[in-house]
Symmetry: C2
Subunit: 182 residues, 2 copies
DNA sequence: TAAACCATGTAACCCGTTACATGATTAT
DNA sequence: ATAATCATGTAACGGGTTACATGGTTTA
């Protein structure tokens, strides 16, 4: 958990190019952004209300169909300033992994334990799924090289995530093979 | 955040070979274990009390010096069973990165933005620090190859963490060089 | 004797998840 | 018609951090 209310800055960032509703933000988190940050609508709506009260966001209402109200939020000058400041603020220090595979391996600690190969299989499987998912996303978004240029940051972090998964899978398979045969 | 009360299992794991006090657990998190999992004493003590109430832990009191009371906890049979079950339970699915460098890069998104090289410098710096820290730890613990065999899991995850940091640093430096000169 | 460390707890608060709750619109 | 999706909220709870609070022991 980033305790520094990062959600607020992500929202500011997502609103920095165009106005959006809370629902739009929610959809972002279900789509591409969700690979890097996500929150539920039950956290998004109250947060945006608070940000409006604090003068970081402005809103206008619009009607779709007969009565469905949408609330479009946009950045105020204070909101823009808040975002700029955060973007320039130093990064936090690196926090513990808190990854269940890692901690289980630490606690079992014995290469001959029969639970070790199972653990590796599970870990390999979930990273394969994740790797495939990210690769799919890449194809969707960045098959066109022009898109890669238009969205430098996004392409970069997605590429990096894919490489990381590939490297992790290679490491896992290597260590899996080295396990003592029972 | 692992929402599944992982702390409880980490505590069970740390108690599985010898009895310890809450303070001992806290010290573990400040030392080697802390690279992979950590919690504060204000969370540890109440959690251990609850685990005792639930019959997972047993405790005995001891006096150091004239009156300083220590409370040593150990696993009950129920506690051992709980730990075994968790160790065999399937791993959770992979969660979003929630890393501030990543999300900032996503939000800036423009290779020509002057904040990008600064961001890279910050990221490189904090990973260098972390890499050095982990390498130090390795020297401390695993210079002796026999220790590496005695603590297979620990050696493995530490090695993996070091490799990951090294690979990440290489990637960061490569991309930093590719940035457009201003 | 003073500082650092040992040792154990509680309280307030923040972030995030799950569940509760409601109603409109669109596509089949 | 009905299911899926759009749209916006609130409530309860769990896990984690910071701060509050207290006292004993060891080491320089």
């Amino acid at each position: 958990m980033s305790r520094e209310n990062t959600l607020r800055y992500v929202i500011l960032g997502l609103l920095s190019h165009k106005e959006r509703t809370g629902y739009d933000i929610k959809k972002c988190f279900q789509q591409e952004v969700g690979d890097f940050w996500s929150s539920r609508h039950s956290q998004i709506y109250p947060e945006m209300l608070k940000m409006e009260e604090q003068g970081l966001l402005a809103s206008r209402k619009a009607i779709t169909g007969q009565k469905l109200e949408k609330k479009y939020y946009s950045l105020t000058d204070a909101g823009k300033k808040e975002l700029e400041e955060w973007l320039q603020a130093p990064l936090g220090s690196i926090v513990p992994t808190r990854d269940d595979f890692t901690i289980k391996l630490y606690l079992i600690d014995d290469a001959a334990d029969p639970r070790i190969p199972i653990l590796f299989q599970q870990e390999i499987s979930r990273h394969q799924i994740h790797h495939r998912h990210l690769t799919e996303r890449w194809k969707e978004l960045f098959t066109d090289p022009e898109e890669r240029e238009r969205h430098y940051g996004h392409a970069l972090i997605l590429r990096q995530a894919i490489d990381r998964e590939a490297q992790r899978l290679a490491w896992l398979k290597k260590e899996y093979k080295k396990l003592p045969k029972k």
